[in-house]
Symmetry: C2
Subunit: 910 residues, 2 copies
Amino acid sequence: MAKKMVYFFGSGKAEGKAKMKAILGGKGANLAEMTNLGIPVPAGFTITTGTCADYYKSGNKWPVGLRKQVDMNLAKLEKAMDAKLGDPDQPLLVSVRSGAAVSMPGMMDTVLNLGLNDEVIEGIIARTGNARFAYDSYRRFIDMFGDVVMDCGHEPFEHAIDSLKKKVGAKLDTDLSADNLKELVRLYKAVYKKAVGKPFPQDPHKQLELSVNAVFSSWNAGRAIKYRELNNITGLLGTAVNVQSMVFGNMGDDCGTGVCFTRNPSTGERKYYGEFLMNAQGEDVVAGIRTPLPMIGLKKVNAKIYKQLTGFMDKLEKHYKDMQDMEFTIQQNKLYILQTRSGKRTAEAAMRTAVEMVRERLITKKEAIERLETAQIDHLLHPSFAPNAKRTVMAKGLPASPGAAVGQVVFTAHDAEAWDERGHKVILVRIETSPEDIGGMDAAVGILTQRGGMTSHAAVVARGMGRCCVAGASDININYAKKMMKIRGKTVKEGDWISLDGTEGEILSGKLPLVEPKLSGYFGKLMSWADEIRKLGIRTNADTPEDAARARKFGAEGIGLCRTEHMFFEGDRIWAVRQMILSADEYTDIRSQIATFDGDLTAAQKKQLDKLKKQFKTPKKEFEGALKKLLPYQRKDFIGIFTAMAGLPVTIRLLDPPLHEFLPQDVASQKEMAKRLGVKPAEVKAKVEDLHEFNPMLGHRGCRLSITYPEIARMQARAIIEAAITVSKKRKKVLPEIMIPLVGTVEELIFVKKHVIDEINKVFKEKKTKIPYMVGTMIEVPRAALTADEVAKEAEFFSFGTNDLTQMTMGFSRDDAGKFLGDYVDKGIYESDPFQSLDQNGVGKLVDIGIKLGRKTKPKLKIGICGEHGGDPASIHFCHKVGMNYVSCSPFRVPIARLAAAQAALADKK
Amino acid sequence: MAKKMVYFFGSGKAEGKAKMKAILGGKGANLAEMTNLGIPVPAGFTITTGTCADYYKSGNKWPVGLRKQVDMNLAKLEKAMDAKLGDPDQPLLVSVRSGAAVSMPGMMDTVLNLGLNDEVIEGIIARTGNARFAYDSYRRFIDMFGDVVMDCGHEPFEHAIDSLKKKVGAKLDTDLSADNLKELVRLYKAVYKKAVGKPFPQDPHKQLELSVNAVFSSWNAGRAIKYRELNNITGLLGTAVNVQSMVFGNMGDDCGTGVCFTRNPSTGERKYYGEFLMNAQGEDVVAGIRTPLPMIGLKKVNAKIYKQLTGFMDKLEKHYKDMQDMEFTIQQNKLYILQTRSGKRTAEAAMRTAVEMVRERLITKKEAIERLETAQIDHLLHPSFAPNAKRTVMAKGLPASPGAAVGQVVFTAHDAEAWDERGHKVILVRIETSPEDIGGMDAAVGILTQRGGMTSHAAVVARGMGRCCVAGASDININYAKKMMKIRGKTVKEGDWISLDGTEGEILSGKLPLVEPKLSGYFGKLMSWADEIRKLGIRTNADTPEDAARARKFGAEGIGLCRTEHMFFEGDRIWAVRQMILSADEYTDIRSQIATFDGDLTAAQKKQLDKLKKQFKTPKKEFEGALKKLLPYQRKDFIGIFTAMAGLPVTIRLLDPPLHEFLPQDVASQKEMAKRLGVKPAEVKAKVEDLHEFNPMLGHRGCRLSITYPEIARMQARAIIEAAITVSKKRKKVLPEIMIPLVGTVEELIFVKKHVIDEINKVFKEKKTKIPYMVGTMIEVPRAALTADEVAKEAEFFSFGTNDLTQMTMGFSRDDAGKFLGDYVDKGIYESDPFQSLDQNGVGKLVDIGIKLGRKTKPKLKIGICGEHGGDPASIHFCHKVGMNYVSCSPFRVPIARLAAAQAALADKK
């Protein structure tokens, strides 16, 4: 038997079905499925994807047998439609479309109205009496065929219609009369002949053959190949070709066309929704010349058709178990369904339909969770721009923190706070932000930076605050002195209004209308289902009691990362921090000199030692004094956080950033600091210069600080445990987890842990009580992952700090990568920003190695992630797969993480 | 049978032998060995290491049976020596020493003269007539026993002797009379009683028991445990105890003592060498009161003894197959050998003895290679300070580049060049150096920096030049404005003389006498043997034809790393580079804007596109113009290098550093640049600011430059291949290997390689010829190692850039780590600087992963190392072990690498 190359559908029966996507392509399989369901789909046939492969194998020729099968199926189609290709009296018109197993832009578009020629057109005019309709269809067909099938481009046709319109004084295409359009057909045929070198083919069979070839060829067009490469689409045979009879809604008053949704796509309400126009084509609805009627109107116009249609709607929704978006056409009182697909919906509608479909037993809870899009949750939590707002994009940056904001531009954190106090809504624009800017960032409705990536200071802090932020917009150029910026040549001054879209990363000119977010009960219901399914715990990154409380409301089950450095900036405590820094270095310098004296000393050495011991006293006293000042502040911070998270674990990271981040960099502030601390400005300047680092990312920070200054770790450990004891005395359960950052070798952990535990034991003795606590480490230095078996001997938990791990493993500074990562994504070197979504092939390998080695030493080792990837759905899937215990993310991403974790658990079962 | 716990040696026979180190400890085994060889060793016995373990098991008591065995062996010893412990007439005196299988500082020192008491002393005085000698021995014994065995410390004894000296008006110990010493014995006994709480034990058997216990206890003293931990010494049972009879060289004119070497330890000449004193103790030689006589003098004094001694020397050298350093004592015309060990020797002597011993068939070539110390080669290649020079160390830094230098201090590269031209020898002192300083570094005899580690710019460049360098000396404080520095409080001004020891990392005050290096024929011979043995290839890191030629002379078999950026600084070419940078950014910025126009354009868009295309022309022309200027310079550089390395492979790395390194950072130089290039100073300043990076190490550099500016890679590829064609036309074989740096993902390599190959094919077409070449990559980003199987698909070779790989894997910036790495080594967190010796547990794991994955894809992939570790012996062993093809190091380390590679090959066979 010859290979089956063509599958028919029509007259209530199809040779294919939905499951045959690999053979019939997505579109062909669905048309077959609908036909078999008894849905009146215009009849047609599908040439298989394998035939496309054979076409290439035969040297771009139809494989043996195809002609015969096409002819046979065409005859069947003609019979089903009671019409004939090229017959002027009963002309069959068809559409030709490509359709691979995976939806793939870049392949051939549709050719409509195939079958028209000079003869057929006359027949149609005779039959419909509508010459304008006939010629308009014809001229559109010639244009489409020339452009799409014969590759002449659309431009020469555009020129022709433009000159005709000028000549007859028409403004719009619709101003052209039937005669004008007849003339246009003539002109188009000339254009075609000039471009192709042959006259426009009058034989509909020839038209069909050329169209099928064009579909086959489009499979290996550059754009399609590139699309498959970029999306890793492999293993497909080729594209199928769908040849389907045309139906018309504009052949008279017993005709019409419309679109409908099985539920309301804006609200999710279970009510038929849609609109239609009688005696019209789909295009008429789009052109906006006539106003379509709401779907319920169809009941009045034609109750029978309305009943049929709603019946099909119910049937299809039930069959596909999802809200359907359908196109229909009524041709001479006969209803055809042209297409059905899952309906696009708002976030609110997605939630509501999902919950209601579960209640209707249409889908299971698991299916409801599976089909939700995590991206939609952002819209529920953050303001967005009204969907109909006119957007003028001035420039793009990174979508650093989702949401929308409208405000007046200011260029300093100080101005942001001042303007905010005066009642203005402001957008803080900075080249980059630093910890000193936190107050201003909080006062602003949105934040825009010129530099920095997805994990830059601005991005991380803004996400934590739930504040909209566009970061690393390299097309803006800020002039602080003049309080203005240039955006691609346009000047924006202080006080000018702009709008920011943090979800898309766009800077928009002027004031756009905002839509405030709202959370429905459906959202809560879905989240509770997600919680039932997921295996991963969800924690949050929070540095303040407010953030902690907010995250808890969003469902966080603890804090995975509480950074202690932000606390050092607040209010007056920065002065104690600066005093500490000034004395610390001097103190430890002398201390290490003293340590070099060993064994029997000469008299001169003894004298020198005594001198050093004397010198030592002043900075030591100052250093300890500064730490004593900081202790109550830190303790108070932790009391607040432990109270907000009572009953849940709180992971606190010891001081991490290099000390120079706490010192003022500009001369004026250095003078202020000198005055305040009673030292010479030159001393402050010298200290700042001394602490300068070439690569602060890889510098004196993390546990390295605690190795030089163990007293700081001790002060923090004391503050944590004293706070924990205070809160637990109020009958609130406290579970502190002390996290030592930037460990690269277990020896570092041993050293710092010893100091931490020793100080904690002192507190226990003083307070005559004990509480449980843990000491663990961040795995963020590649070496720690590579030697995790060793590190696990000393760590009670691991938390992967994938921000730094990404920086070090890929060798990118997140603050500098913005300058070239764009080139990388443009040139296809990276698919996505590795700071946004974990680089699973590279960084992920290290994470996997780290987990395996860690659990080799301690099989039950608690392992989480606290980098920004903890809020990214793809990364959460990865965390589930490699067996982490929890992910931790910024408060506003907690719901997304809950959903993604549930989806990961479901995907894992398959 | 009872367990054997004690082994006897004496009277020409021993129960143990050299191979029983595990049981008898190193010392005991060697004493047994010597005894069995017929060497007259003072008799004694050894308590086994297992007995020490049993002592602990029995709760710090002598295990059952030990007492009996000790008594038995003591009786044997008394018989052999014809003396008796505690017998005033024929007293046996013994020494007690610890001795584990591995030499281990931190355990108990020696107790000498055990057996003395109030009675015995009288007998000795009666027998020798030398009361002074007797009392001096006795008081020393009480001090030693109190301090070492009973833990009273040495200090109270010191106080007692000091007050006695004051009282009798003695200045030196030797000023004390016999009576004074007798009084001192009384005082010491009182000190002992006060400290211990019991009188000094008069029973010699009690003395022995307590001493043996002290040796056992010292095995688990804190210092010994720590030493074992630090040096990973495990699996030992305990320490052995050696009890050996004492002999005396100061009992009359038929007595004497001396040290001797079987060959000259300074020159290596095969001649007996040593010195002796008659009627003297070893201490007398050290005290310098009497001048010892050269060994040949013994022949005159006592020809028989001389003949015996030289006989034993010959025997021992032959037996141990190495030059021996021996101690001997003559007691009443009887010769005793107290100790023999491998003699310490100068580098010259080491070379000569090794070669001559091979010629004498005493050892094999392999043994000669095995026993050489790589560190000694440095002394052969670089100047050093005269060994007797008085060194006043002002401060220490890192031993960044070996050798010694004496010069006048200058603080700028410019001054270094100017002073050098005027005939001064200068030491260039900088906070850190940058590529702009190269001229000054070359003009200086030594380089000293305040910051930066073993792979800082200063260190790497200095090693390349063979120039002495001390880097990262954090105790110096430079004031450029005043042209001075403070070193631990001392001021050193411009023009002051200092000395640098780059081998030790010391800054010394004043002018020290220098010894110039010399290379003998022995060195060359040994190197040729090393070459026969080693498996690793040895290449060099060289950027100039001069360096290449020098390295070739030292035995380099190619260039493993030719950095192209240094070439960009020379002479006028820096101006072309700067012009290129100014135009590059503008050009690529507009280019990427143009690239965003796609598909059908509106009229307004077309207008904008035209405008951009016009704007594009100026910077593009400037950019291309600058590259055209650079091309001939680069080509000339490569012609020089290819010529110097004719017949050998040359690996050239494409431009690596971030572009801002080529721009001037200070205002004056920026103005100069603006003037020279005809732009506004503000433009230059803006460009410098624009290119500023927070973490340049992780910034826009390496292949990332080529992705933004592929034109630069093309220019370099063209220069390389044009140069290669030119040189090969002169019938010289050229093997260029183009290396693409900082690859993190194979996509980067694919992109850059495509441009490189495309340009090379153009050159081939233009020149109508082809030459073989390779394109490979550096593995220096952790991600590249983790995905080396992918990278290997596109790379023809790998070269591990372990400098950057160390920085990223450990998260250390080499320029900043100096500030805290000291703390790390001090606190025992790291054993050594990971930039100096490869961190095999962490970074090494990644190297191993990279090699295994790379060879999985290409089993014959050529793999080398070009980081600074390529010249470090321990790292070279690692490179051999993991199966690299070659190491590459700076020219002056090539001989060290040849030797280390040979030693690695030998170690591997075992």
